[in-house]
Subunit: 63 residues, 2 copies
DNA sequence: TAATTATGTCCAAAACATTTGACATAGGTG
DNA sequence: CACCTATGTCAAATGTTTTGGACATAATTA
């Protein structure tokens, strides 16, 4: 499952570390998700969505 | 994390078994998610969303 | 250049999601 | 009532996500 996290995070000018802290996870988690190592849990997807100010349906690309 | 799966599934007149099959999981998985035993993975959330014809952001209630 | 910050990666363990198989109960229909 | 379908639940096994600690490299800045 692809996502737009890295692009949107950079547009907002924040680091993986800052995004991680906002979402209550560690930096490696953000890094793995941005690089498609695995998908976030649903709760984390919503936290990312909220922090990055886009809807879950926009942030992730299904299919 | 709450969700509207049971309500929408009933409105569509389908069983847990049918929804499960559509989404490629077993009946117990749908049952557990409807009864808030655990949250689905992000991929399953998108499959449920697609089958139930509502957006992920509408199907699940975060906060 | 040297120092600092940001990112990518690895591993093992912990936490969480899903399956399989089974049994119990609730609701409707003959 | 007896039958059948749908739903709820449980425990053990398996698969996936997240953590914590560590190290390497890339990019930025003094």
């Amino acid at each position: 499952m692809k996502n737009k996290i890295k692009a949107i995070r950079k547009k907002l000018g924040i680091t993986q570390e800052q995004l991680a802290k906002e979402c209550g996870v560690v930096r490696q988690t953000i890094n793995c998700i941005e690089n498609d190592k695995y998908d976030p849990t649903l709760v984390l997807a919503f936290k990312l969505s909220k922090t990055l100010k886009v809807k879950v349906d926009e942030l992730f690309i299904y299919e």
